[in-house]
């Protein structure tokens, strides 16, 4: 019963009944596609709004300023773990990645630890997590989060071992940061923050979602299953590789790619292939890596892309193998 509520079985049945009422035959490709589209749009919007509200409320207890202070006091490998974990919950907009980077470095936080934060933050975010939860269930969502944190920890640690500090632009080390007062937040402000976040996220991704679900619906009804399994199924060793490479220049929203991934997985594409694609669109997205050019040299960006890309590949293969 709880499963029926949580996986929106009720909504599926409701949409089926409604479509029958309008004389749409569920046995046809058209019927299947329309059902997929309506069902997914409603499901994801409900899930997103509810969960983003709750998660944002929790997130309001964290801030980049507090995260910086926590990390300044730590050292060693555990600071990578902490940075990566904090990356999942600290409210942080990618447009702030430059000031965050300078602020961390200025505070004496090692470069590798800063990258642990920067790698995990976009991969594991509430919207992606929620949509994964709704589409593939708890197990996949949790594994995705753990994988994202691990990629951040290991990726940042490798950057630390390689001693790449020389590839940071010189001016970054000269910046003297002013004192930041950490503001006290009232409950009313937390609720306001959570509401704003719901509005912002939904308004930012609804179009991607509709397009993604639209393509997903088409795949659902029309894509040739045997062909997809042959080229992107879990048995194909190059599937994950191709998916990751294709995702890098793609300026998309991870959320928009999930409905496509869902439809592809239903058609037999490996789940690791689909998740690698999602991770790569968020973590290696072109506009974000370009932003970093303001603070680090191109060589470091390339090393960053190579390390994170390899991490995502490994995760993709592991998922295909074990799930």
């Amino acid at each position: 019963m709880i499963g029926y509520i949580l996986n929106f079985g009720w909504l599926g049945d409701l949409v089926t009944k409604l479509l029958l009422l309008f004389g749409v035959d569920m046995g046809t490709r058209f019927g299947e596609s329309v059902h997929f589209f309506i069902f997914d749009v409603i499901k994801i919007l409900i899930l997103l709004s509810l969960m983003i509200f709750f998660i944002s409320y929790i997130r309001s207890y964290f801030s980049v300023e507090k995260t910086k202070r926590t990390l300044e006091k730590m050292g060693g490998f555990k600071s990578h773990v902490m940075a990566s974990l904090l990356g999942t919950v600290t409210p942080f907009c990618s447009c702030s990645s430059v000031p965050l980077f300078i602020g961390f470095v200025e505070g004496g936080i090692p470069l590798g630890v800063t990258f642990s934060f920067l790698i995990t933050s976009p991969i594991v975010n509430e919207a992606a997590f929620i949509i994964l939860l709704g589409t593939f269930g708890v197990k996949v969502a949790v594994f995705y989060a753990i994988a994202g944190v691990t990629v951040g920890v290991v990726g940042g640690y490798i950057i630390h071992i390689l001693k790449l500090e020389k590839y940071v632009e010189e001016y970054v080390y000269k910046v003297k940061m002013g004192h930041t007062e950490i503001k006290k937040i009232t409950r009313k402000e937390r609720i306001e923050f959570a509401k704003e976040n719901v509005k912002e996220t939904v308004s930012k991704i609804w179009l991607y979602l509709l397009i993604g679900i639209g393509i997903g619906a088409f795949i659902h009804g029309w894509a040739p299953e045997d062909l997809l399994v042959k080229y992107a199924g879990p048995e194909n060793p190059f599937g994950v590789f191709v998916a990751t490479i294709v995702a890098i220049p793609l300026y998309s929203n991870a959320m928009g790619t999930i409905p496509i991934a869902e439809a592809l997985i239903n058609k037999g594409v490996g789940i690791g292939t689909a998740l690698a694609f999602m991770m790569a669109t968020t973590a290696l997205s072109f506009p974000e890596t370009v932003l970093l050019k303001k603070v680090v040299k191109v060589k470091l960006i390339m090393i960053f892309v190579a390390i994170v890309g390899t991490g995502i590949l490994i995760v993709g293969y592991l998922f295909n193998y074990f799930l």
Binding site: S63, V64, G103, E106, K176, T180
Partner: protein, 77 residues
């Protein structure tokens, strides 16, 4: 005259904050000079890590969000 700085590297949110600040200044009827500070070093010197931020007469009153016009007006009083 009040000196108001909108601190941000020029993302969408920074522009939004700038617009809202102008509106707040107008509705509140204060005399103020509103400028955009897009230099990252200056922003860091103000102690900001999350942009956009708002600084009035040298004091940071808000950062990491785009406050509502009413909220900005309360800072102008």
């Amino acid at each position: 005259m009040m000196k108001i700085e909108v601190l941000g590297t020029g993302c969408k949110k920074c522009k939004e904050l700038y617009e809202r600040t102008l509106e707040a200044v107008k509705t509140e009827g204060v005399e103020a000079e509103v400028i955009k500070e897009e230099n990252i070093v200056k922003i860091m010197e103000a102690g900001l890590m999350s942009t956009p931020g708002l600084r009035i007469d040298g004091k940071v009153v808000s950062y990491g969000k785009v406050p509502k016009v009413e909220e900005i007006r309360s800072y102008l009083k």
